[in-house]
Symmetry: C3
Subunit: 346 residues, 3 copies
C-alpha cells in the first residue's frame, strides 16, 4: 500500500505529514527497533524516540512533536504526525495486514444439527459440531473442530477459533472473539458437603457474553447453579483466565492472563486486572479500579482504587510496605540493638 | 413440577412445610435475590435472610427457623423447612433441571478402533477418536471431538466433555466427569540436565482416577516417569488446575481453580486448596488441611492445619502478620523516632 | 530386556557393574520405594539411599559409591554404578518403554489442504485439519483433532499431540513436542484504549519455536502485533504456561507450570522459572537466572541471580525477610514495649 494512502485513510487524526516520494510503498508494519526498509513504524512516548535517528523504517508515525519531525526530515524519511500514534499504528496494521478468515460455507466434514438456525454468510469449518437448537447470526465464523452444545446463540460476526467449546444455553453477542481452546458455559465448581462426600450441585444457569467481548485462549467461563454468569460489552479476557460461576463483569474491562475470579464476583466497568490476580468469592470491585499483577483481592475494592499485594491494599501503601519488607532484617537488627542498649542502661 | 412433589421427594430431611396451594407449579430454581414468580429459592445463613421479606420467588427452602417460616407465611409463600437447605436446594435443582445428555449410540463420524471394548449404552460423539485397546464401561458418554489414546480404561457412567484428551494407559474410574479441554495422562515435565541441554525422561507411568473424580475445564494431570499419578475417590478439581507427575491425592479433596501441584506432591483426604495455591515438589499435606487462596506451600503441612501466605504459615499468624505488613511504614517511623530519641539522650 | 544389555547400552558412563545372573530380565523401570521384582530402580542422592536395604527391585542404578554397591551385593541384587545415575535411569526407561507413536500415513478422516507440503513418513491423525500453505517436515506426527492454520511450517520429527492448535504463520523447528491443548500463535492481547473502548490491534507478527522446544499441555504462546515471539532452542515449557506477545526466550530454559510472561519479556539462556512465576511487561532476565515458585518479577534480573518473592528480591534476602514476616507480631510487640518503657522514663 502506498504511504500516501495510509495517510489519507488515517483521516482527521493527522496533524501533519511529509511525503517527498508519493510512490513510496509500505509492505508491512514493524517495531521501530526492528524495522527494515519498506516498513512503517511508530513512536509514542520517550522510550523509543531515540530510535528515530537510527531506524531503518521507510516511514514513521510520530506524535505531534516538531523535534521528532525534524529528525525524520533530516534522515529523508516519510512521516505522519498524529494525535494518537499508537492508535494510528493499530489502524495502519489493519490496513496492511489481512488476517486469515475462511470463506463463507459449511465444510463437508462439519456436523450441523437439523434444528440449528444459521444466518447469512456463515462459515463452519471441518469437524465443527453444531448441536440442536443452536442459532448463529450473520457472518459468524466457526473454525475447525469447535464444538457448540445445544441451545447456544451466537451473534453476528462473532468468531470461534479452532478447538474451543461452547456449552449448553450460552448466549454470545455480536462481534465477539472466542480464542482457541476457550471453554464457555461448562458446569461451575458447585458442590455441597454431605456426610458421604462432596455432592454435585447441578448447574442450571448459563453464561452470557455481551457484544464485543473477547475470550483468550484456554480461558474458562463457568455457568452457575442458577441465574447467569455475565461478561459486559467490549470486555477483553486474555489467555488462561478463570471466571467462576455467577460472576458479573461490567463493560470495557481488561482482564489479563491467568487471572482467576472465584464464584459470584462482581466487577464494574473499565476495570483492569493485571496478570495472575485472584479475586475471592463474592468480592465486589468498583468502576475503574486497577489491580496490579499477582494481587489477591479478598474484600470489596472501591471505584477508582489502585490496589496491589496479597491481601490487596492501596498501591502507594503497598509500594512503601514492599520496600520495607526487604529491609526487615535491618529493621530487626535495629530493634535488637535498641533492646540491648536499653537493657544495658537499666 | 408441583411444589408438593418437590417436598415429597426431599423426604426425611424435611422438618416442616406449608403448601396452601397444592397445584403450585415450580418451573426452575433461582437465587433468592433474583427470583421471579414460578421459581424456588433458598436461604441458608444470615446473609440472605433479609430477602425473605422481598423475594419474588413462589416457594422457599428454609432452615429450621420459626422466624423465617413466619415471614414466609405472612407473605403467603409456599415454603419447606429442612435440616440442610443448601443440600435441599441442590436436590431441587436436580429435580427441575435436565442436563444435556446425548442418547446412547456411536456417531457415524466417530473413529473407534477395532480393538476397543465398549460397554452397554455408550455414547460416542462426532469426531471422537477412540484408539486401540481402550475399554469403556456401561453408559460412558464421550462427547464430540474427544481423543482417547491407546489402552485407556474408563469406568461406568463416566462423562468426557468435548475437546478433552486422555493419554495412553490412563485409568479412569466410574462416575467421573472430565470437563472440556482437560488433558489427562500427558507426559510429565521430566528432564535430566546434561552438558548438551535438558534431556527428555520418558514418562512410562500412568494416571489413575478413582471413582467419582471430577476434573475441571482445561486442567492437566501428568503421568510420571515411573509409577502413577493418582487422584482419590470423589476428589474434585476445578478449572485450569495443574497436577504434576507422580502426585498422590487422597479422597474427597476440593482443589480450586488455577492451583498447581509440582511433581511428587502427596495430599491426604478431605483437603481444601483454594484458588491459585501452589505446592512445591514432594511436599506432603495431611488429612483435612486447608490452604487459603494464593498460598505457596514449600514444606509439609500437618493434618487439620489451616495455612495461608507465601511461604505458607498458620492462618491465624498470617492474618496478624498481614495486618502488620501494611503498617510497616508506621512501624519503621516509630523505630526511627526511638533511635533519634535514644541518640538525643546519650 | 536383559539387564546385561541395559548395562552394555549405558556404555561409557558405567563405572562398574555386577551381574551374577546373566539371564536376568528387566520388564520396566520403577521408583526405588515402589519397585517390585523384575524392575530396575535408581539412587541418586542421600534421600533414597536408605531404600537400597529394602527395595524389591531386581536391579539398581547406583552412583559411584562403594558403600551402596556393597549393600546391593549383600542383598544379591544386580547393580550398575554410573557417573550420573539420573541420566542412566532416564536412558534405561527409554530402552524399556515404547511410547505410543502412530504409524506413518494420512488418516482418511484428516483434512489436508491441496497446497500443504508433506515430508516423508508423516502421520496425520483422524480429524486433524491442515490448512493451505502448511509445510510439514519428515516424520512429523500430527495426532488426532489437531488444527494447523495456514502458512505454518513444522520441522522434522516434531510431534503435535491431540487437540492442540497452531495458528497462522507459526514456525516450529525440528524435534519439538507440542502437548495436547496447547495453542501457538494466536492473537496477542493487544488493544488500544480509545474513547469508545478498547480497540483491537491486529496481530500481524508470528510465533517462532526453534529446534527441540517443548510446549506443555494447554500452554499458550501468542503472536505479536509486529515482529515475532520467539522461543529458543531446547527450551521446555510445562503445562498452562502463558507467553505473551513479543516475548524473546533464549535456549535451554525450563519454564514450569502456570508461569506467565507478559508482553515483550526477554529471557536469556539457561533460565529456570519455577511454578506460578509472573514476569511483567518488557522485563529482561539474564542468562542462568533462577526464580523460585510464585516469584513476581517487575524489573530486570541480572544474569546468574536467584530471586524470590513478590516483588522479586535476591533469594537469600527473601529467605531472611520471609522468616521475619511471620515474626511481625512479635516485632510489633517489642516495639510497643520499648515505646512504653521510654515513655515511662521520661
Amino acid at each position: 500500500m502506498k504511504f500516501v494512502e495510509i495517510v489519507e485513510r488515517l483521516g482527521e487524526d493527522v496533524v501533519a505529514f511529509d511525503v517527498s516520494d508519493e510512490t513510496l510503498e509500505i509492505a508491512k508494519a514493524a517495531a521501530i527497533d526492528e524495522a527494515i526498509a519498506g516498513t512503517i513504524a511508530f513512536v509514542a512516548g520517550d522510550k523509543f524516540a531515540g530510535y528515530v535517528a537510527e531506524t531503518q523504517a521507510s516511514a514513521l508515525i510520530l506524535p505531534d512533536d516538531e523535534g521528532l519531525r525534524e529528525q525524520a526530515r533530516q534522515r529523508g524519511m516519510a512521516w505522519v504526525s498524529t494525535r494518537n500514534p499508537r492508535e494510528a499504528f493499530a489502524r495502519s496494521i489493519a490496513m496492511l495486514y489481512r488476517p486469515f478468515r475462511p470463506e463463507p460455507g459449511i465444510h463437508e466434514k462439519a456436523s450441523v444439527a437439523a434444528s440449528a438456525k444459521l444466518g447469512r454468510n456463515v462459515h463452519i469449518g471441518a469437524n465443527a459440531v453444531i448441536h440442536e437448537g443452536v442459532v448463529l447470526g450473520d457472518e459468524v465464523c466457526v473454525h475447525a473442530n469447535v464444538v457448540v452444545y445445544p441451545q447456544v446463540t451466537i451473534g453476528d460476526r462473532t468468531v470461534l477459533h479452532a478447538n474451543c467449546t461452547v456449552h449448553e444455553r450460552t448466549q454470545i453477542g455480536a462481534d465477539c472473539t472466542i480464542q482457541s481452546g476457550a471453554v464457555l458455559g461448562a458446569e461451575g465448581f458447585g458442590f455441597v458437603p454431605t456426610p458421604s462426600g462432596l455432592m454435585r450441585m447441578e448447574q442450571s444457569g448459563c453464561v452470557v457474553l455481551e457484544d464485543g467481548v473477547e475470550i483468550g485462549c484456554n480461558s474458562t467461563v463457568d455457568r452457575p447453579a442458577v441465574g447467569e454468569t455475565r461478561i459486559g460489552k467490549n470486555t477483553k479476557l486474555d489467555n488462561l483466565v478463570q471466571i467462576g460461576h455467577g460472576c458479573r463483569i461490567g463493560a470495557n474491562c481488561a482482564i489479563c492472563a491467568q487471572v482467576g475470579l472465584a464464584g459470584g464476583v462482581t466487577l464494574g466497568n473499565n476495570i483492569t486486572l493485571a496478570g495472575q490476580v485472584g479475586v475471592a468469592n463474592r468480592a465486589k470491585i468498583g468502576d475503574g479500579a486497577v489491580a496490579s499483577a499477582k494481587t489477591g483481592i479478598h474484600q470489596d475494592v472501591e471505584a477508582g482504587a489502585v490496589v496491589s499485594g496479597f491481601p490487596a491494599i492501596a498501591n502507594p501503601l503497598w509500594l512503601r510496605s514492599a520496600a520495607l519488607y526487604k529491609r526487615l532484617p535491618e529493621i530487626y537488627q535495629s530493634l535488637r540493638q535498641i533492646q540491648r542498649r536499653l537493657n544495658d542502661r537499666s
